[in-house]
Symmetry: D2
Subunit: 140 residues, 4 copies
């Protein structure tokens, strides 16, 4: 299996095996080596009291893309730290696209950047995740 | 109403008016001026594919505490940026406690720090949120 | 003057007018709209007690690139927040290259990412900066 | 030697052995287990082109406190990631105080928070550092 096929299979098996992604309606639009693009439509149960998407849900979407990307070579990896800048608000019913890629690796450490935009291209948030490979496989 | 009563009322009205907190089973253990302590029990739909709490949910809990704290004076505020260090994994059924306080303010900007621990005191994550006051009231 | 020329002129005037860049031996390799690439050679007075480049100096180099980029349209901007992941150590005499670009803008807010590498291409650090435009010109 | 004496000795030996601290005029006001407070007076060569303290120098001061704190038990530790929120500007001649403490530890990981204020108490910046212990002693 080549690196792109492997990364795609890891992402789909992670989504199928987790509680969060299916509960949040996350879809994998594309997954390949070092890259993933996910979508999620904002529902009423994802809104804060200002009736806009909760920052925690925007982060959770980006963090999901980060997890698929940093595990994509099938070496189990965990998030050590992550940071997000919030740029614009999002309404119920809007679809968010999280597009990420791994931008650096050194030893066990990796850095993945994820841009979150609305389906019509508004910049919503920018995420940076720092991962560490802990060993072991993700899928068999 | 004094500052502590106001902050407590803001937190409870925010929780009642949002889609996320009730969906996630978030409880306010204490809320006063510049401080909040929340709890949330990790459910199956909050787990990642390694069967531990998804980082996005741990962040979402801390971000919720951050929102209650930075809006506690009833001046509407938004998250501009937030960062989390992940320290330990959490299993289904464990209860997380997010305890936060605002540590600095200058003009419209504020910094709030939230520690996430298990109910038995294990350090799970450390969150730092940067808020900006945008004006207007949160509750009437 | 076109946007690339303006950004280049802003960067050079900022470097000439600041105390830090000349003291640290920072050179502008290239500056254009939304982009800058700087170099700095690590000196003995930039080392920590382990005799490797101090993290603060690696950050300071990236932060300098960030400043030139977010002011490049000649609208005065300030750093609101910044974050760095440290990936590898650097020895005295090595030359660091900081290459950055603005990856998102929304209203007064912008996000700039800067990769720091050695001249021979080792990944040293990844920086993310969040800027806010405050109004006024940088150069006349 | 008790833990507070050890931390104090580590901090002073680190400062004496590094290129940066003496060059920047950093002074150790207090260092004990899990805690350090440093001072640094802003000089002309620390200013940016707006004639205020460069963000990189404010970060470098906080990062120095972070280094002393996370090495204070004499187990060599390195910065894996750090983040700073910038709150106010600082003029030439002002003295900055960086006061930090380690707020969480789990295995090899630690989180240290550092507040930077002016000598008269203005909030300047808030720093969060994530360290990893790599083994070996810092001082003999």
């Amino acid at each position: 299996m080549d690196a792109n096929e492997l990364a795609n299979r890891v992402a789909h098996e992670m989504l199928a095996g987790e509680g969060t992604g299916p509960s949040w309606g996350i879809k994998i639009e594309e997954a390949r080596e070092g890259y993933a693009r996910l979508s999620m439509t904002v529902r009423a149960d994802m809104l804060n009291s200002h009736k806009i998407a909760h920052g925690g849900m925007i982060f959770a979407l980006a963090d999901t893309a980060f997890a698929y990307i940093c595990n994509g070579a099938n070496h189990a990896s965990v998030a050590a730290q992550a940071s997000m800048v919030f740029l614009d608000k999002v309404s119920e019913g809007e679809t968010l696209i999280a597009e990420g890629e791994q931008v650096a690796r050194e030893g066990r450490a990796g850095v993945t950047r994820v841009a979150v935009r609305t389906a019509d291209g508004r910049a919503v948030a920018e995420f940076t995740g720092y991962s560490r490979t802990i060993g072991g496989a993700v899928i068999s």
